[in-house]
Amino acid sequence: MSATGIAVAMLQVVLTIAAAPLLVGMMRLVRARLEGRVGAPIRQPWRDLRKLLRKERMVSANTGWVFSIAPLVLLASAALVAGIVPFLSTRSALDQVGDLFAVVYLLLLGTVFLSLAGLDAGTAFGGMGASREMTIAAIAEPTVLVAIFALSVSTGSSNLGAIVAATLAHPSTAASPESLLAFAALAVVTIAETGRIPVDNPATHLELTMIHEAMILEYSGPDLAMVELAAHLRLVVFLGLLANLFVPWGIATTVQPLHLAAAAAAVAIKLVALAATIAAIEVFIAKVRLFRVPELLAASFVLAFLAVTASFFLA
């Protein structure tokens, strides 16, 4: 683990935290414009976070320690993953120690703690949201594992940086059936895990079908700011994974400052394009019934499974 590698990892974490709320703001703006509204400016999520951070911390007397540490665990795990995932360079220091399994289980750790916090307060909504989140996570997490695993079969390594570097070295593998199938599977899971339409609606409060908002109903002030920031970070992490695993061009293979700057610009363009596409599609589709969500996720699991079989038998 070299000093420059650590610097790259730190840079990634800082840049991701700075950019995540802006990306969410841009998605909201795209949606608003397409729906004929003026919409809030792009920096609105940052303003919301700043406002929440200034407020007093209110905690229900009936909650335990899980409720207090859940936002910290959620934010810390999301920030750590933001350092592991190869956004800027394939030679990030954290990437050497953390691989595909570490990423998936760090993300799952945050999900589990948020669900426990939802249960901890003992409200009806919190429990409902937690049970729904677990239903989705139980199918979505294996799909992420299997989909990325399909890519790692041809590379021979479960290290994300190595997978990206291998795709860079052999550009034709980006259009192979296994990576197309894995891309489709991971795209569906990204939408489910980040709570977007058609699985969850990020814009609603107090609706009987919501998932994420139901769990965080009891949070306020700085705690809510941490949960929100972590949710934004997770969105960027998933979109970044999607962008860089399948379209890795532009990522730096060295740690030179100039290459890193170019890589940051490339990943920003990819993220903005991907996020704008998702936001635009969301305008045109409705949320599916909650009971149909497992069907959607089962389909994405099957796609990931087919990707693995294809990379084993066809390649």
């Binding site: 192979s176 059936p177 197309l180 199938l181 389909a299 099957v302 499974f305 087919l306 079989t309």
Partner: protein
């Protein structure tokens, strides 16, 4: 066309045939399933087209165009007509739920890979390596026939089964003579006509095509 491009195009087209058969299990509306079967027919034709171009066999290219017209347009068109004739556009009554059907189909795909291992070992061409996909499509077609109640969907299952057989044929033999292919095509077309007539007669007589209700004798 160079080797890498050929392998990728072939794998993508053959993979699309398999993915559409999963989509047919996943979708609920009859019209949507019929359209997916049409896409499957086009993907099947694409497989033959790619092989024909790569091996410079003009006859296979001609066959592929005919297969595309028949399985991509004519047969799905017949099914769509049968669907629209009845008032049962919103299906789908299945004996097993959708996630279970998808998992069963994944299992069948693995069985197809396992069962064709010896055949694949005989040759290392990309066509033969993709052969298990055809067997998997056949098995999933059978699954569709077994688990669905409506006669129209069972016809679609038969068509999918036949698409799988055709895929195995193209991949295994690099195309059969035009005369044989014409014979097969007319057979399938005739079978589709007969099944469609049968379905409409069942509907006229009993008011629906739910085959489970036809099992018991009534006065």
């Amino acid at each position: 066309m160079n080797d890498t491009a050929f392998v990728q195009l072939l794998d993508i087209a053959a993979g699309l045939v398999l993915v559409t058969s999963f989509a047919a299990l996943w979708l609920r509306r009859l019209v949507a399933v019929a359209r997916v079967i049409a896409v499957q027919g086009v993907a099947l034709a694409a497989v033959a087209f790619v092989i024909g171009l790569y091996e410079h066999e003009n006859e296979l290219v001609a066959v592929s165009l005919m297969v595309g017209a028949l399985r991509g347009v004519v047969l799905p068109g017949l099914i769509l007509r049968a669907v629209r004739a009845g008032d049962e556009r919103r299906e789908v009554e299945s004996l097993i739920n959708v996630p279970a059907a998808l998992l069963a189909a994944s299992g069948l795909t693995l069985i197809a890979y396992a069962a064709t291992r010896d055949v694949v070992a005989l040759s290392s061409t990309p066509q033969v390596r993709a052969l298990p996909l055809g067997v998997a499509v056949m098995l999933i077609g059978m699954l569709l026939i077994v688990t669905r109640r409506k006669a129209v969907l069972q016809i679609m299952g038969v068509l999918m089964l036949d698409n799988g057989i055709a895929l195995v044929m193209f991949l295994g033999t690099s195309g059969v003579p035009l005369a044989v292919e014409l014979g097969i095509a007319s057979d399938v077309l005739l079978a589709m006509f007969i099944l469609q007539v049968l379905t409409s007669r069942i509907r006229n007589k009993f008011g629906g095509t739910d085959l489970d209700q036809l099992r018991e004798l009534r006065d």
